[in-house]
């Protein structure tokens, strides 16, 4: 009986196979996700899981496109923004992105979140030739226009940031002994790499490094050993909790190096105050997004535009969260790309326009920071403003600095 069953099943299978081969040939569509009345945009973010704090970005983006629709949409079309949860798990991101592209048939992907998550979909998205724009990660590798012509980053990479610090150090302290404390992951590891880009062969001579895991209870011993190595410059590439510990420990050791802090850990609420504002005076960092706590921002046109939006479309949201400023800026850039398409929403044209942004200023980015892209530049923001902490807020230090990008 089993043998006969198998034969029959085989025959059935073969029939279905042939029917299918015939059917697949007939499917073709010019611009998926775009109709006379609608443009579909896909997004993934971590609504659940350990990184769910980032989900505020996608929530703002949903609200932003609602505002765009209330104002009449783009080229007569409403934006249908479909944002799905990936729980910050790369295999889940791939599954959700496949759903977005194959089932929901979105025209493009926008600001998909997470370094590993974007790594998981990069290849697939480029095979499918779907625009994969303005990713939610500072990893340097996104922006490789030669190998991944459909994938474009957005914010300055951590590596660019480290390059800017290195240039500044060489200017003010050419004979410095530099200590780097970095988190042992994709974010932290970009900092030694960026330093090396600038210091070259002198890296081994000038730099000592120490790393930590996010599961470590403290970084006290690392700070102690970096001080003992005789460093007079300290660069801390740590997430907020450890950044605060580093500031405090350096103070406790009475160590007063030229202190640099990664731009991800400059929040006054979550880093500076826990470490003690007095202990943080003189720390240098870099930024490209405006500071909602800055008293000067009260009369800022761009910030007021953002505040009006927040009041109307995201009532009750925590307006001290810098992620909302970032999300507003990136959404504005997306809107600009869609406007530049002038009604021609083929995937080719969307990509062409994304690579055709010139000196675009965004309301929540620091004055002078301009978005520039070209077919050979997939790193839209390359500028950073150095700033020094004066005991209450960050004061600009010199002019905007442009990193190398790659």
């Amino acid at each position: 009986m089993p043998r006969e069953g198998n034969a029959r099943k085989g025959a059935l299978l073969a029939t279905v196979l042939f029917a299918l081969a015939a059917a697949t040939a007939a499917v073709a569509d010019d611009t998926p996700g775009v109709t006379a009345t609608e443009i579909k945009i896909g997004n993934t973010d971590a609504y659940s899981g350990p990184a769910s704090a980032y989900s505020v970005i996608a929530k703002l983006e949903s609200a932003f496109f609602k505002m765009v629709n209330d104002q009449g949409g783009v080229a007569g079309r409403e934006i249908n923004f479909i944002s799905l949860d990936d729980g910050y798990s790369p295999p889940k991101t791939l599954e959700q992105v496949r759903r977005l592209i194959e089932q929901d048939r979105v025209a493009l992907l926008f600001n998909t979140s997470g370094t590993a998550c974007n790594s998981a979909i990069e290849k697939y998205v480029n095979q499918k030739q779907v625009p994969h724009l303005f990713l939610g990660t500072g990893a340097d590798k996104f922006g490789d226009y030669q190998h991944y012509p459909w994938t474009m980053g957005f914010q300055p990479s951590y590596r660019t940031e480290a390059q800017i610090y290195a240039k500044y150090i060489l200017k003010v302290k050419p004979n410095a002994k530099i200590a780097i404390l970095y988190q042992n992951d994709d974010f932290g590891k970009d900092y030694p790499t960026g330093m090396k880009d600038v210091l070259g062969d002198n890296f081994d001579k000038m730099v000592v490094t120490a790393s930590y895991e996010t599961t470590d209870p403290t970084i006290d011993s690392q700070i102690t050993s970096l001080q003992a190595a005789g460093a007079d410059v300290l660069l801390v590439a740590a997430s907020p909790k450890f950044a605060a510990q580093a500031i405090r420990k350096a103070h406790d050791l009475d160590w007063k190096p030229l202190f640099f802090m990664t731009y991800t850990s400059t929040s006054i609420a979550s880093v500076i105050n826990p470490a003690g504002a007095q202990n943080a005076i003189g720390i240098i960092s870099a930024g490209f997004v405006k500071d909602p706590a800055d008293p000067n921002s009260r009369n800022d046109t761009g910030m007021n535009e953002w505040r009006d939006f927040m009041a109307k479309y995201m009532p009750g949201a925590d307006t001290t969260d810098g992620n909302y400023l970032f999300a507003y800026a990136v959404s504005k850039a997306m809107l600009q790309v869609l406007k530049q398409c002038e009604g021609n929403f083929t995937r080719e044209n969307i990509m062409k326009q994304a690579a055709n942004l010139h000196d675009l200023e965004l309301p929540t980015l620091l004055p002078g920071v301009r978005v520039n892209t070209s077919p050979t530049n997939y790193h839209p923001i390359r500028q950073l403003q150095l700033g020094k902490f004066d005991g209450t807020h960050w004061v600009p230090l010199g002019d905007l600095v442009t990193g190398a990008g790659n």
Binding site: Y47, S48, S83, D85, P91, E95, G114, T115, C117
Partner: protein
């Protein structure tokens, strides 16, 4: 009271004679036929979801063998899944070994790893074993990021591999081929698990779960059996990991968080932990419920998922398979009762 307790086995015995194996075989054939036709009834993205279901089912089958049949709790099976996935990814990345040959290699490596992990775990019982395994799951992503292994593991960036095409010129696209590839493995591993569990070895495993001392007295080498069970269980989960790497075409430390291990255990318990078919129901649950939760609420999908789990545990304390068995027993009893009159 005593009569009632005795009643069940008697009714079962009669009922078993009433349900001839032909029905059972027809049921299995129907399920298999559905599984074979499925990829042609749904779109490519859904096919990949069902491939993931099969992969989770294999992983949980491994966990069921260990926890359900042998009574050892593991909160660390995500680690074996990761080892399997990385074995396949590294072999595909560094050597010319074809993808299908990497799967048994991943299984063999996990068999060894599981057996070795089982040896010290022998001294740990119940909760203490659970803690040791959770430590293993916590450590794995960090070990994968370790600088010394960077050249192999790709560090935090992970490894990208190519998706396989269907062999022998079969008219199947990649999605469907991967699905059938997973299905072949799932069927083979179910048959192996069934043979293993219904024979001498299975009886020894269950005896150790139910009464370790009595089992030892009966001449069961508990130490050997427990380590072996750990190894076999890890092998199943490792094979699932290898298939997962083929399906995603990408591995990274972030793909295997502690949460993955917990997800396996949740799926196993929801499906029915001491059963083979329960693994498949559990796999459907952990694959699709998060998507439903996401649709219901963007604010707290984790909480919605939690509510689903709690509700199911209240409604079906012995898992989904428990409900099916319960209904089955009732039906047969009803059939027996009808016959008597």
């Amino acid at each position: 009271m005593k009569a009632m307790l005795n009643e069940t086995p008697l009714v079962e015995a009669v009922a078993n004679r009433l349900s001839p194996p032909i029905w059972r075989w027809l049921g299995i054939a129907a399920i298999l036929a559905t599984a074979c036709i499925l990829p042609f009834a749904i779109s490519g993205y859904h096919v990949s979801q069902f491939s993931q279901v099969l992969i989770y089912a294999i992983a949980m089958l491994g966990l069921n063998i260990l926890t359900g049949f042998n009574g050892q709790i593991s909160l660390g099976h995500g680690a074996f899944y990761a080892i399997g996935a990385y074995t396949t990814a590294i072999l595909l990345d560094k050597t010319g070994i074809p993808y299908w040959a990497t799967v048994p290699i991943a299984g063999a490596i996990c068999l060894g790893a599981g057996f070795l992990f089982g040896l010290p775990a022998l001294r740990l019982e119940g909760l203490y074993l659970a803690l040791a395994t959770v430590a293993f799951a916590v450590a794995t992503p960090q070990i994968l990021k370790f600088k010394g292994f960077d050249s192999w593991t790709g560090g935090v960036q992970g490894i990208q591999v190519d998706s396989p095409a269907a062999p022998f010129g079969l008219p199947l696209n990649t999605d469907r081929w991967i699905y059938y590839f997973c299905l072949i493995w799932a069927v083979a591993l179910v048959i192996i698990a069934r043979n293993l569990l219904s024979g001498r070895t299975g009886r020894a495993m269950i005896a150790i779960r139910d009464h370790p001392l009595a089992a030892a007295t009966m001449g069961v080498d508990t130490a050997l059996y427990k380590s072996l069970t750990f190894g076999i269980s890890a092998m199943y989960t490792g094979i699932a990991g290898a298939l997962g790497a083929v399906l995603s075409a990408y591995v990274s430390p972030d793909s295997f968080p502690v949460l993955l291990s917990i997800k396996f255990l949740v799926g196993s318990v929801v499906g029915g932990i001491a059963s083979i078919s329960g693994a498949f129901i559990g796999a459907l649950f952990i694959e699709f419920t998060p998507n439903f939760a996401d649709q219901i609420s963007k604010a707290a999908p984790d909480a919605i998922f939690g509510i689903f789990v709690i509700a199911l545990m209240y409604l079906m304390p012995t898992g989904a398979i428990g409900i099916f068995n319960f209904i089955g027993v009732r039906l047969r009893r009803w059939a027996v009762a009808k016959r008597q009159y």
